[in-house]
């Protein structure tokens, strides 16, 4: 959160943007993400807010195949009653709107969206 | 809901079996909502079975929870040769058998607790007496070996046929009859001692 004015991590900004898209129920990572967060929680010996860590690990930002590009992967659970592909297209647009502010002068990021569930 | 929980193999309503088979196929393909329906549908009967087998509600809940989780993991290989309810009965029975075997042996007949004195003196004597007998029965069950207890409970409290018990426990019908006989023998012995 931005309450203390600190710059927010890119993945967190993307997660917030995605969560705001109509039709998105919540962000959900694959199993790897869940394991990572539970291992991290055990390693640091403190309780991690499960919702927060789940949302963050549902967004992965890496290097794209072309130099200087970003590859962004987002995993989401959608609400029934919304056409899935319409929501994923909205998510992509929301991600693109978020990224330029953080990564100016770069070619457009590759954005991969995976629907991991419907509720 | 149709189908008596006591007899999964005999009395399960045809419609419910069809529905269970469909839900199990869905759950095997990762439909956790289908699995939740199965858990809701069969949880009460399985919890009753486990409570009878273990004589302890908390342990029974753990056993049934473990059984369902293990069923979720095994469902992709579940081919529906038997009804889902029979399959679950088998998993719960095996889990409870392991729990019973892991308990420290309570040893011989002279360890049978005396029947508790009727606590409700105000209630009619016959009711109190009947209640005391039931209490005494559950205490007496503690002396049964895990194998005897499982066969006896499935046969007497759940009303399964010897054939069904044999199928569930994975031993011959004659072996089931032998275990039920020995269980009855010990329980009648205990009851004579209460007189």
């Amino acid at each position: 959160m931005t309450a203390d004015g600190e710059p927010v991590e890119l993945t967190e900004r993307i997660a917030q943007a995605v969560a705001g898209v109509p039709g998105v129920a919540f962000l959900r990572p694959g199993l790897a993400g869940l394991l990572r967060s539970s291992v991290a929680a055990r390693a640091t010996g403190r309780r991690v807010n499960p919702e927060e860590s789940r949302a963050k690990s549902a967004v992965r930002v890496g290097q794209g195949s072309a130099p200087g590009t970003l590859a962004i992967e987002v995993s989401v659970v959608l609400r029934r009653g919304h056409r899935a592909v319409d929501v994923t297209r909205e998510i992509r647009a929301a991600v693109r709107r978020t990224v330029p502010a953080e990564a100016e002068n770069r070619p457009p990021a590759r954005v991969t969206i995976t629907v991991t569930g419907l509720v | 809901m149709p189908g008596h929980p006591d007899s999964p193999t005999d009395a399960a309503d045809d419609g419910e079996r069809h529905e269970d088979a469909l839900l199990a196929a869905r759950a095997g393909e990762g439909d956790e909502e289908a699995f939740e329906i199965l858990v809701r549908r069969h949880g009460p009967a399985l919890l009753q079975l486990a409570t009878r087998l273990l004589g302890n509600r908390t342990e029974a809940e753990d056993a049934v929870q473990d059984a369902f989780v293990s069923a979720w993991r095994k469902l992709p290989e579940f081919r529906g040769e038997s009804a889902f309810s029979s399959w679950m009965y088998r998993i719960v029975t095996n889990r409870c058998l392991n729990v019973l075997r892991a308990r420290r042996p309570v040893a011989a007949l002279d360890a049978v607790p005396e029947p508790a004195a009727p606590e409700h003196q105000a209630s009619p004597a016959r009711v109190a007496e009947a209640h005391a007998a039931v209490e005494a029965l559950s205490s007496a069950m503690a002396v049964l070996s895990p194998e005897q207890r499982v066969c006896w409970v499935l046969r007497e409290l759940n009303g399964l046929s010897y054939e069904a018990v044999a199928d569930m426990v994975g031993i011959s019908q004659e072996a089931v009859r032998g275990r039920v006989f020995r269980a009855r023998r010990q329980l009648t012995e205990a009851m004579v001692a209460w007189q």
Binding site: - | E29, L47, Q48, E61, W72, L137, R184
Partner: protein
């Protein structure tokens, strides 16, 4: 061996081979196990009806069975299983099986959906037809054939649905109707390109055996 066989012999029931039931002899020479078994199997026997030893043995068993009946009647029902369901499902949701990752949208896009989620939509679509209940629904990426599918292949998917139908359903038409429902759901609810829908009727059952509306 007399009436009091070693009372502990029964509790050392570790192996089946040690399990020789009913060897215990009553004073009249009958085996206790045989007497009880006859009673259980409902077989009449003139001897046991008149023999005091057999009668006594049967009386003991009768008393036990009477207490057993009362125990069954007294037992409280185990209906409050809500907490158990929640605990089970909490674990299950940490061990979901999403299946394959399948393409969503047009070929050039980079949107995907897991098989388990798409299958739920297709099953519900088929279930909406009266007299149809859906079991298995598998979805394969385009051109995957028998070989292991390439990870994340684009292109229209192949759907295989298994249904149970009510006897009242027109078997000639039902497969086509299911196909139409699945195509419509793929386009209207998901935005997924479906190349083929194979429908297998696995069972025909009395109409009453199909739950109204199904689980979802």
């Amino acid at each position: 061996m007399a009436m009091n066989a070693d009372p502990n012999s029964g509790s050392t029931d570790a192996t089946d081979s040690a399990d020789v039931p009913g060897e215990e002899l009553l004073p009249c020479g009958r085996k206790l196990g045989d007497v009880w078994r006859q009673w259980e199997d409902g077989l009449a026997d003139p001897h046991t009806r008149t023999c005091p030893h057999c009668s006594a043995a049967l009386h003991d068993l009768d008393r036990l069975q009477d207490v057993v009946r009362r125990a069954r009647a007294e037992e409280p029902p185990q209906e409050d299983t809500g907490a158990l369901v929640d605990r089970v499902m909490d674990v299950v949701r940490l061990e979901l099986r999403p299946g394959r990752t399948l393409p969503l949208g047009a070929s050039a896009e980079d949107d995907w959906i897991v098989e388990a989620a798409a299958a739920k939509v297709f099953r519900a679509a088929a279930d909406s037809l009266p007299g149809v209940r859906t079991g298995s629904c598998r979805i394969a990426p385009a051109g995957s054939g028998a070989a292991a599918p390439a990870r994340r292949a684009r292109g229209p998917v192949a759907v295989r649905v298994e249904i149970v139908v009510a006897a009242t359903v027109n078997l000639q038409r039902i497969a086509e109707q299911v196909r139409e429902e699945v195509f419509a759901a793929a386009d209207g609810l998901l935005g997924m390109e479906v190349g083929s829908v194979d429908v297998t009727v696995t069972d025909v059952v009395p109409e009453d055996d199909l739950a109204e509306g199904g689980p979802r």
